[in-house]
């Protein structure tokens, strides 16, 4: 299918990295970056394509992480099954939160607030409930081996998260090309008009939230398997809600490669800032915040949008008439 070739190419290039790079620190950096890209892709389906800006995607990330960890530690469930259950739980939470909020017709600022509140409630519950290990958190026992989803080599973990990212990229592309994707974009552009044309707005948004929740939960499941430790501040913390929305917005909202590009840029900037000034607390996040403001200021459609704009400007110089038509169609 058209449009899948760039994804295959990108994944193939990324898959080759561990053959060239052997440094554990670098691989660790790339694994975390890809994990954030995955969480961001989940946000992108709902926020980028559907226009519903969630400020609480930690709700899904944390649910994935906790379900994976708690099922293994307390119920002896196989890690792979736990991983699948974590993703399913993320989808279920997406469905529940989506059904509740969209039934009330919450949009814009209100939607942002209610998602934030759900994540916060889950964080408080996880910090006191005995099943999650309360304030201590849950530690997954070290048990290296494929059956326990734990690998000695960083490269294997890298390929696992890359596979997940690849699946999320293909899913996003398929949604983009489908009728469902067209409905979703119609909702983003003008909800009332979409409704008037017969789009079942509520179901479309809820379905987007289910998919979104599942993908971001997958990132949480991966977090639990990779770091083998989960607590309420990590799993349901605001940091992941912010990273999940930051990466697609910086890379390009509502584009397939936006979250991946955004994660690479944001994480590299953070690491770069640390290299320049040493490991000072807060500095990488200062850079994040500043980059977020600057990107919205100068390229409101993210870096990918910025590239398209520059390309358009260059072609306009060559053929003024053709590009002005393009411009008109774009708005």
């Amino acid at each position: 299918m058209k449009g899948l070739a760039p994804i295959a190419a990108a994944v193939a290039v990324l898959a080759a990295v561990p053959f060239v790079v052997h440094s554990n620190a670098t691989l660790n950096f790339l694994i975390v970056t890809l994990m954030i890209a995955l969480a961001g892709q989940g946000w992108n389906i709902l926020g980028g394509y559907g226009g519903q800006y969630s400020f609480g995607h930690a709700a899904f990330f944390g649910t994935g992480a906790y379900v994976t960890a708690v099922l293994q530690v307390r119920y002896g469930v196989n890690a792979w099954l736990g991983f699948g259950a974590g993703i399913a739980a993320g989808a279920a939470f997406g469905g529940i939160i989506g059904a509740l909020t969209f039934r009330s017709g919450l949009r814009g600022s209100y939607f942002a607030l209610v998602t934030l509140a759900f994540a916060e409630v889950l964080r408080i519950i996880a910090s006191v409930a005995p099943i999650t290990g309360a304030g201590v958190g849950t530690l997954i026992k070290l048990d290296l081996g494929t059956q326990a989803f734990q690998f000695q080599s960083r490269a294997l973990f890298y390929w696992v998260v890359l596979t997940l990212v690849g699946v999320s990229l293909v899913t996003t592309r398929l949604i983009e090309r489908s009728r469902f994707g067209a409905w979703l974009i119609a909702v983003r552009e003008n909800e009332d008009a979409a409704k008037a044309l017969g789009v079942d707005v509520r179901s479309v948004k809820t379905a987007a939230m289910v998919i979104s929740g599942a993908i971001t939960a997958a990132a949480g499941c991966f977090y639990a398997q990779y770091f083998l430790f989960v607590d309420s501040g990590i799993a349901y913390g605001t940091w992941i809600s912010i990273e999940a929305l930051l990466t697609p917005i910086i890379g390009g909202v509502g584009t397939v490669f936006g979250p991946l590009l955004g994660a690479l840029v944001v994480k590299s900037l953070g690491e770069g800032a640390k290299l320049v000034t040493g490991d000072v607390p807060g500095l990488d996040l200062i850079v994040y915040g500043a980059v977020l403001v600057l990107v919205i200021w100068f390229t409101p459609r993210g870096l990918i949008g910025g590239f398209t704009q520059v390309r358009k400007r260059l072609t306009r110089r060559a053929t003024p008439a053709a590009s002005s038509i393009q411009e008109g169609g774009h708005g």
């Binding site: 919450l106 408080i124 915040g289 403001v293």
Partner: protein
């Protein structure tokens, strides 16, 4: 546990806590009422104001109740500049972008504080921090009673500004009908920035009233601002009396649920109210329809 000797002080203390919440919420609801955005930087501004009040006392020896007259103009100017020169131009007028810009600013301010002052929690020790007033049936801490009175003074000042000054009329005009106000020759960018400045000044007042018997660290503002969001939604976004009543209500709910459920779980009561109000009546108690 239901005896009045425990219940009445708990309710009174809840009202006093609610008063400080009200100050944070007033700024938030003012900004929402005019700009129609939720200012995610509000919590970070509160942390910054608490640090300012802390250093005003430690370095300049200024009592927080005097520093308030210095800090609120400074924060007014800061808020004005923030909206006029960063949030306004950077968002290009798009609501979703404004949300994200305020979030970006919040991240920058909070981490700049962390970078400069580290995560240590600090307190000041004013002589009246632990003084109490004997009301016959209960004792109440002096700084909290001062805070309670001050909230109503601030609300009164805000009301006077909104009702009797030109800028107040302009702010109300923009809140009601932005385009019409613009056509009537009102400088909307200026009004937006004035509103943001007033909201930030409220934060500075809240900080000066809080610091005598509270603490400061780079993320302290966040715990307040989530509660302030709840209050603003409960009272109706943009409604000043709604914010006052909502805040007192939330203060009492927090105090009582803390009494019955324990400190850490007590917070849940607030968020449950928050979610239920959002889902059932998003316009709040006094707000206009969403």
């Amino acid at each position: 546990m239901l005896s009045p000797t425990i219940l009445i002080p708990a309710i009174l203390n809840g009202l006093l806590t609610g008063a400080v919440y009200a100050l944070v919420a007033l700024g938030l609801t003012l900004i929402y009422g005019v700009l129609h955005i939720i200012n995610f930087a509000h919590g970070a501004l509160l942390s910054a104001a608490l640090f300012a009040a802390f250093f005003a006392y430690r370095l300049l020896g200024l009592d927080p109740y005097i520093a308030v007259f210095l800090l609120s103009p400074i924060f007014f100017a800061f808020g004005y500049a923030l909206q006029r020169f960063i949030i306004g131009p950077a968002s290009g007028g798009d609501d979703r972008n404004m949300l994200l810009i305020t979030l970006g600013i919040a991240v920058v301010i909070e981490n700049a504080l962390l970078f400069a002052f580290r995560a240590d929690t600090r307190t000041i020790d004013v002589p009246y921090a632990f003084k109490t007033i004997d009301f016959g049936f209960t004792f109440l801490a002096v700084p909290r009673v001062v805070g309670f009175v001050a909230v109503f003074l601030v609300a009164l000042v805000l009301w006077l500004i909104m009702t009797f000054t030109d800028i107040g009329r302009a702010i109300r005009a923009v809140a009601k009908e932005k385009l019409g106000a613009e056509l009537a020759g009102i400088d909307v960018a200026h009004v937006y920035a004035m509103t943001f400045g007033l909201g930030s000044a409220c934060v500075a007042v809240a900080a000066c009233l809080l610091i005598p018997n509270y603490y400061v660290n780079p993320s302290v503002g966040n715990s307040f601002v989530l509660i302030a969001f709840t209050i603003v939604v409960l009272g109706g976004m943009g409604s000043v009396p709604g914010a006052l009543i909502g805040a007192l209500l939330i203060g009492v709910v927090e105090s009582l649920s803390g009494l019955f459920l324990g400190e850490s779980l007590g917070q849940i009561g607030i968020f449950v109210i928050f979610i239920v109000v959002l889902l059932v009546r998003p316009s709040g108690l006094f707000g206009e329809r969403v």
